[in-house]
């Protein structure tokens, strides 16, 4: 036990001297994920704001292929992109400080699979729902998102093993991967009148959302209500209003 404590302390002091920089943009849930991981690992870092409408030299040289944020710079090492890959890297360089991925291979595989599902289906469905004008497609997307939330509810029950988070007693990988969308989910409810996570359909997930939202680590990384509202207004500003949609104040 004494050895483990020493190990942790050494790693925390390493974390403080990490020479870490994060290139991000306002309101991006993928950037929020990395901020979350850095917070949990107690890593000090410099945050560099990127304007995606006017991409910087730094972004274009560090992530030439995809030109996306987040990008992580660790000392003189090669810059790293893709939020899920960055989180696993941070977990591996400081394995004893707030472990993020579960420890057994089967739970790790389930978590990685669900993260893949979130990024390739669930999140794109939410984005498309916000932007599409075709009401038939909107209905279809609503159905898919609801089914997805039911599946996440089942996954939560299985992986949390009765505790507050996907990671158990502590915030873990899926808490970060899904939790970064809590702001979007909240505003979905307000603007579209559609509860992606619903107290009746997804009771455990709804409770999880509340626990995560009120956690001290979350409050420090999730963008403010104002940023979310501005983001949605900006998105909706590009679209002609639909008759049945409330206009945000």
């Amino acid at each position: 036990m004494h050895q483990l404590l020493n190990h942790c302390l050494i790693q925390i002091s390493m974390a403080k001297k990490c020479e870490m920089k994060l290139l991000g943009s306002v309101g991006s849930p993928f950037v929020t994920r990395v901020k979350f991981a850095l917070k949990l690992k107690s890593i000090d870092y410099e945050y560099i704001q990127e304007d995606l409408a006017n991409k910087s030299e730094l972004l274009l040289t560090s992530n030439p292929g995809l030109q996306k944020v987040p990008v992580l710079f660790h000392a003189n090492k090669q810059p790293m992109s893709e939020s899920l890959i960055i989180i696993e890297y941070l977990d591996e360089i400081l394995p004893d400080v707030h472990p993020i991925l579960p420890s057994n291979p089967s739970d790790r595989a389930q978590s990685r699979f669900l993260a893949y599902y979130i990024d390739t289906l669930y999140c794109p469905w939410m984005k498309e729902f916000m932007l599409t004008r075709e009401s038939e497609r909107k209905e279809e997307l609503k159905r898919l998102i609801i089914e997805g939330s039911m599946m996440l509810e089942e996954a939560f029950v299985k992986l949390s093993k009765g505790k507050a988070f996907f990671g158990g007693d502590e915030i873990g990988f899926l808490d970060i991967v899904v939790g970064c969308f809590l702001g979007w989910i909240k505003f979905f409810g307000i603007i579209f009148g559609f509860n992606v996570i619903d107290e009746t359909r997804n009771p455990r997930l709804a409770q999880w959302g509340k626990s995560l939202w009120s956690h001290e680590a979350t409050r420090s990384v999730i963008p403010s209500d104002e940023i979310h509202m501005n983001f949605f207004k900006m998105l909706l500003g590009f679209l002609p209003p639909m008759p049945d949609m409330p206009i945000p104040a």
Partner: protein, 219 residues
């Protein structure tokens, strides 16, 4: 004894990389071939979300998505033939390039060879640009994973395995030695690895299958 099942189709590049990994790790497993036009209740039970192959079932726990399965195999059977490197940065690089391979290179490559006429011409530039990036990865290395083969080689193994069959059916020299000397060398080395060389299907069967698909799309 541990029970390992793999739901597969014989031609899927995503399945193939799992077959190679299991062989390299000396894992005994049962393979179940699926007819994707008529999926088995078992497949739908184990992969209800995507309903796709490969699915690895180990002691009744189902793992889906081929790159996730590869990491699971590497972590579970970790005493033989390690696939991913130990260094976190090297691991991150391999994960990044494997993802790039699956999301960009593979779709554009197969799209390019399966199309005909004008459509094919249009996707040529993108495919060549992607291949050039992979070529650069091999500039100072024997294999994509370094001195010896590993995770990233398995992830790009589809390119080694399929390039000659597709050349035969399209008549196009896709990986020519002048433009892609590193890739050509890598391809030959990869196909000589015993576990890869001994895996079915053979090149002739692949050629026949792709010819069939190309003709049905041309109609």
């Amino acid at each position: 004894m541990e029970k390992v099942k793999l739901f597969a189709t014989w031609s899927s590049p995503f399945v193939k990389r799992i077959v190679w990994a299991l062989k390299l790790k000396n894992v005994e497993y049962e393979i179940i071939y699926e007819d994707l036009a008529n999926k088995s209740p078992e497949l739908l039970k184990y992969n209800p979300i995507h309903k796709k192959v490969p699915v690895l079932v180990h002691n009744e726990i189902a793992i889906c998505e081929s790159l996730v399965i590869l990491e699971y195999i590497d972590e579970t059977w970790n005493d033989v033939c390690p696939l991913l490197p130990k260094d976190p940065l090297d691991k991150a690089k391999e994960r990044f390039w494997a993802k790039f391979g699956d999301e960009q290179v593979l779709p554009s490559f197969f799209g390019y060879v399966m199309k005909q006429g004008k459509d094919q011409e249009e996707s040529k530039e993108t495919t060549l640009a992607h291949l050039k990036r992979v070529e650069q990865l091999l500039s100072e290395k024997k294999f994509l994973s370094g001195e010896s083969f590993g995770f990233l080689d398995l992830a790009f193994g589809w390119l080694a395995e399929n390039s000659r069959p597709l050349e035969v059916i399209t008549g196009l020299k896709l990986l020519d030695e002048d433009s892609f000397p590193n890739l050509c060398t890598w391809k030959d080395k990869f196909l000589e690895i015993p576990a890869i060389k001994e895996s079915w299907p053979d090149q002739e069967t692949l050629i026949a299958k792709y010819q069939e698909i190309r003709e049905s799309k041309g109609k």
